[in-house]
């Protein structure tokens, strides 16, 4: 315990099969009792480094020292036993189970003695009933000590995202973690929830716990962290004190060049109405009405932003407009054609392009090549198809056009024959954007277009959207990131509980929009 560092990772190397360097000689030293920011663009190797620390991945080379002690982790169980806890970006919870069941999962307290670590102990532990009451008491104790209030008997599926994250934190505390790793913890939270989380983390710091915060958001880093380590392309760029740096410096370290935060988009000159939505009602996959009477218009040459906390009907609104979900009531008109309840192909033929919110689940076929992904949605008609009744793929033209798109949108890949799954997140999104914007669409529906992307790719995609606006496309932008909506939009509609509760200009303050997003309509109006 002589060392002042809680975690020392020295000269870590990790190469993934296929020769991708995730970490090249990274050294990370985290002092006991500090909040340490691990900053970098997507694909910089932050999560890989932390997965190595947490025992999820093996390193190729390097040393790990926890509290002055050399360690070898074969699995997260080993890491947990050394007091390391990790809250993943995507929560590892089982929605139908209760809070307490989720918390104890994997280390269930059982009646009676522990029966040792051998095979008999394993069998007995599997057979003995779980002492839920004891677990509940412990959870309540943890909750009270740390101000993480929660109902232990509530089912996870009924809880908000913020509370689910709280369960993940309680889970680590339940396992007696004093080194906490948080992977992009704010990406799913409302501004208010982010503030709450930060308060909790500050409490932890006071209590002497060590926190490692993985993030690519500069505002958070500056608000919370004591020291910051920046990674780029799997390499260590440097570790700096918060007080000796600025967001601009950090951004430059992350990207390797100066970054402009505000996009200069110029004044919009709206033309005719392209998208008209009238009194739209849509049910979600559970059969519950999640869009409850939305009406709005988007004009040519204008970006209409929809701001809101996720899960307030945005997904269903987008799916209804793009033809993926049939609305129960209402009318959708694109370019004077009624597209209500029409097929996705019909809506696309009218001139709609769609950047979906989940590029891996919907926007791309990961096991297809880049080429094959670049023709999706237009593959059935010339120039991509030819022959009798356009039944054959025109491979020559597909090659030409996709090579052209790859260079035009600077998609980083060895060849357009590479599989989409080999690309980084930013380049995957570029493939989607290239495909959707290559046809000069009349209407672009962009849902969370920069989610999970690094600064460089975000900048690129935002600029592309503005270019499309200036060229006369109508753009419906749905985003959970308030900054993005404010930066890009000419008009902002705030969605709450399936309704557009207010439409504001781009000069609306974040505080006002934040309150509207949280449902405080009366107070503002």
């Amino acid at each position: 315990m002589s060392s002042q560092y809680a975690v020392e990772m020295i000269n870590i190397h990790k190469t993934f099969p296929g020769g991708v360097y995730a970490n090249q000689g990274v050294t990370l030293k985290v002092k006991r009792g500090e909040v340490h920011g691990l900053l970098g663009e997507n694909g910089a190797g932050k999560t890989t480094l932390m997965n190595i620390l947490y025992g999820l991945l093996n390193r190729d080379k390097g040393e790990i020292i926890i509290n002055g002690e050399h360690v070898e982790f074969e699995s997260p169980t080993d890491a947990i036993s050394k007091g390391i806890g990790m809250v993943h970006q995507h929560f590892k919870l089982i929605p139908p189970l209760t809070v307490v069941e989720n918390v104890v999962l994997g280390s269930e307290p059982i009646f009676g003695r522990t029966f040792g670590r051998g095979i008999i102990g394993k069998i007995m532990r599997a057979l003995m009933p779980i002492d839920i009451k004891m677990a509940v008491e412990k959870i309540i104790q943890i909750a009270e000590e740390n101000g993480l209030h929660i109902d232990p008997y509530a089912k996870v599926q009924d809880l908000s995202v913020g509370l689910q994250q709280r369960i993940e934190i309680i889970k680590t505390l339940y396992r007696k973690a004093d080194i906490l790793i948080l992977d992009e913890p704010t990406s799913v939270l409302t501004p208010q929830e982010v503030d709450e989380l930060f308060e909790t983390l500050k409490e932890f710091r006071k209590a002497g716990k060590t926190i490692i915060l993985i993030t690519h958001k500069l505002r958070e880093t500056m608000a919370l962290c004591d020291r910051i380590t920046v990674l780029r392309d799997g390499k260590l760029i440097g570790t700096v004190e918060r007080d000796n740096t600025s967001p601009e410096d950090l951004a430059q370290m992350m990207v390797g060049r100066p970054v402009v935060f505000m996009v200069d988009k110029g004044i919009s000159s709206p033309g005719d109405v392209v998208l008209k939505v009238q009194d739209l009602h849509v049910k979600d996959y559970r059969g519950l009405e999640s869009v409850k009477g939305i009406s709005f218009e988007v004009k040519a040459g204008e970006i209409f932003g929809v701001a809101g906390v996720e899960g307030n009907g945005q997904t269903e609104l987008v799916e209804a407009i793009t033809g993926l979900r049939k609305p129960t009531d209402g009318v959708i008109i694109i370019d004077e054609v009624d597209v209500t309840s029409k097929s996705p192909r019909f809506v696309r033929e009218v001139g709609m392009s769609h950047i979906p919110e989940d590029r891996q689940k919907m926007g791309l076929i990961l096991a297809f090549t880049i080429k094959e992904n670049l023709i999706l949605g237009r593959h059935y008609r010339p120039p991509f198809a030819n022959g009798p009744k356009n039944m054959l793929l025109n491979l020559d033209r597909i090659n030409e056009i996709s090579d052209d798109l790859v260079s035009k949108f600077s998609i980083k890949t060895s060849s357009s024959d590479a599989f989409a799954e080999t690309l980084s997140g930013g380049n995957q999104q570029k493939v989607v954007v290239a495909r959707e914007l290559a046809v000069a669409p009349k209407l672009i529906v962009a849902a969370q277009p920069t989610r999970g992307l690094d600064v460089g790719a975000t900048e690129f995609i935002r600029n592309t959207l503005i270019k499309m606006r200036n060229a006369g496309s109508a753009i419906l932008l749905v985003s959970a990131e308030l900054d993005e909506v404010r930066n890009l939009s000419d008009r902002i509609g705030v969605i709450y509980d399936g309704k557009i509760v207010a439409i504001r200009g781009p000069d609306a303050t974040p505080e006002e929009l934040g309150l509207l997003m949280a449902g405080h309509v009366q107070g503002v109006d």
């Binding site: 996705p344 192909r345 769609h354 919907m362 926007g363 593959h379 059935y380």
Partner: protein, 501 residues
């Protein structure tokens, strides 16, 4: 002059195309993921043969001799190999095509029966001129099989009925229905003792190609490989099917009608199976006989799995299985191993292909053992020797059991001895596993083996068995290895401590 220039241009165009095609093929073959797939398939085959040899040992056959005659049988009768492969290519393609669209067509057998029945009816009820007649029979067989696959496709697409259930049920329906049609109560019975149709007209038969049994159906099967490859990779329909199979959400997002594609894929898949049935009836049987198929449709599933659902892989896998069948005959005649052994091998191959983690585990641990051998030869070589000894113990244990069979009287002592050998054999597998994965507590298994061998030796003496000496030798051998493991372990620990000091 213009004309010659044009033809030159055309030629270079075609030359270019062929060159591109060959380059593409070369690229595909050298692709790491393709190579990995190939290694997997090959390793699966080797593993399956190893495990099968254990089974043969238990049953009292000589696996070495069996495999030699299996190989001789396969290579000396290439015509038979291709003959067995002919229908398997088509049923394999059938399953693979459905799989490309994300569907498990388990009912290739039923589609094959319906197709063959339709082809037989066309072949003996309607008179048509040569060439036209077989083509008509094949067409009608493919259509009938296609419809039999199209129905579950429609049910899946528009009613959500799972295709595994519906195709399998329709399979039994097809087999029983065709059986009834040619039974003595059915309309198409030929009046003989056997439930079958009258023979096909001569004009409807597929002419022989080479040797006794190989018929022109082979050419059709190979054309089908090209056709399916073209369909999957070069047409809009194939693109859409693959998209639906790989990511239905993205396909729908891209404006692809997944329902339509599912129905069509199942229809085409059924058509290929129907074609396989028609070919067999027209090329081999000459008439429809109830229950004629030796499970060609079911084997199609295994062929598709081994061929990784790619048309060319299916072709190779079908020829491999054809080789097993052809060689199996020779193996049966010369060594006396039952022909069913071929099905065992086939099943094991698919088991290992479908469970790539087994092979990954073997390869990964083998790699670490050989890598650490360079740094420090003691420990890994103990692991290696012990793993091999584990396998040897398994073989010997099984061999001992068979040697007990041959004793004139089988007393309870001998039964107990056999039981100990079974335990020893199981222990052999475990020794291999624990040493191969370098578990720290592996030594105890070795000690237990030494004890068991000693018990076996004592029992052999009491029961007047013949292998007491072998057992004692092995007991000593395992004991020494356990000791060596412990001793070297101790030495290494002290050595490391010295180093630190």
């Amino acid at each position: 002059m213009n004309a010659s220039e044009l033809s030159d241009a055309q030629k270079s165009g075609i030359g270019q195309r062929i060159e591109n095609w060959i380059l593409g093929l070369a690229k595909k073959v050298t692709d790491p993921s393709y190579r990995k797939q190939f290694i997997w398939s090959f390793a699966s085959i080797v593993l399956a043969l190893l495990v099968s040899s254990l089974i043969m040992l238990i049953a009292g056959y000589d696996p070495g001799l069996a495999y030699v005659y299996l190989a001789i049988g396969a290579f000396s009768r290439m015509d038979l190999v291709l003959y067995y492969a002919t229908p398997l290519i088509l049923t394999g393609l059938s399953v693979a095509l459905a799989f490309k669209c994300g569907l498990f067509n388990i009912g290739a057998e039923g589609q094959l029966y319906i197709g063959s029945m339709a082809a037989a009816l066309m072949g003996y009820l309607i008179a048509l001129p040569i060439v036209i007649h077989p083509l008509a029979c094949l067409a009608i067989g493919a259509i009938a099989g296609g419809l039999w696959g199209f129905v579950p496709g429609l049910l899946k697409a528009y009613r959500g009925a799972h295709e595994v259930v519906t195709t399998m049920m329709l399979s039994y329906t097809a087999i029983l229905l065709t059986g009834w049609l040619v039974s003595s109560n059915g309309p198409f019975w030929d009046g003989s003792m056997v439930p079958r149709t009258p023979p096909l007209l001569d004009t409807a038969l597929l002419p022989p190609l080479w040797g006794y049994s190989l018929h022109t159906g082979l050419i059709l099967s190979i054309i089908a490989v090209f056709a399916v490859d073209f369909l999957i990779n070069r047409t809009v329909l194939g693109y859409e099917m693959r998209a639906v199979g790989l990511n239905p959400d993205a396909a729908e997002y891209g404006g692809i009608n997944s329902k339509r594609n599912i129905a069509i894929a199942m229809g085409l898949s059924g058509g290929l199976s129907g074609l396989a049935g028609s070919e067999e009836i027209m090329g081999t049987y000459g008439k429809f006989v109830a229950n004629w198929s030796p499970g060609l449709g079911w084997d199609g599933i295994t062929v598709a799995v081994l061929g990784n659902n790619s048309p060319w892989g299916v072709l190779a896998a079908a020829i491999f299985f054809g080789g097993l069948r052809a060689g199996g005959n020779t193996m049966h005649q010369v060594v006396g191993v039952p022909i069913e052994m071929v099905s065992v091998i086939q099943g094991l191959v698919v088991l290992f292909v479908a469970a790539p983690r087994i092979i990954n585990w073997l390869v990964d641990n083998g790699n670490t053992i050989f890598k650490s051998m360079k740094e420090d030869p003691f420990e890994p070589s103990i692991n290696l020797v012990s793993s091999i000894l584990g396998l040897a113990i398994l073989m010997l244990g099984l061999g001992m059991i068979t040697s007990l069979y041959s004793l004139p009287s089988f007393t309870w002592i001998n039964a107990a001895t056999a039981l100990v050998y079974v335990l020893v054999a199981i222990l052999g597998v475990m020794i291999f596993i624990v040493y191969w994965s370098k578990r720290p507590d592996a030594g105890w298994f070795m000690l237990l083996a030494a004890v068991l061998w000693t018990i076996a030796g004592v029992l052999e003496i009491i029961g007047a068995g013949m292998s007491a000496l072998t057992s004692f030798i092995l007991a000593i051998f395992t004991f020494v290895l356990w000791l060596a493991d412990r001793l070297i372990g101790r030495l290494l620990v002290t050595k490391k401590e010295d180093d630190i000091e």
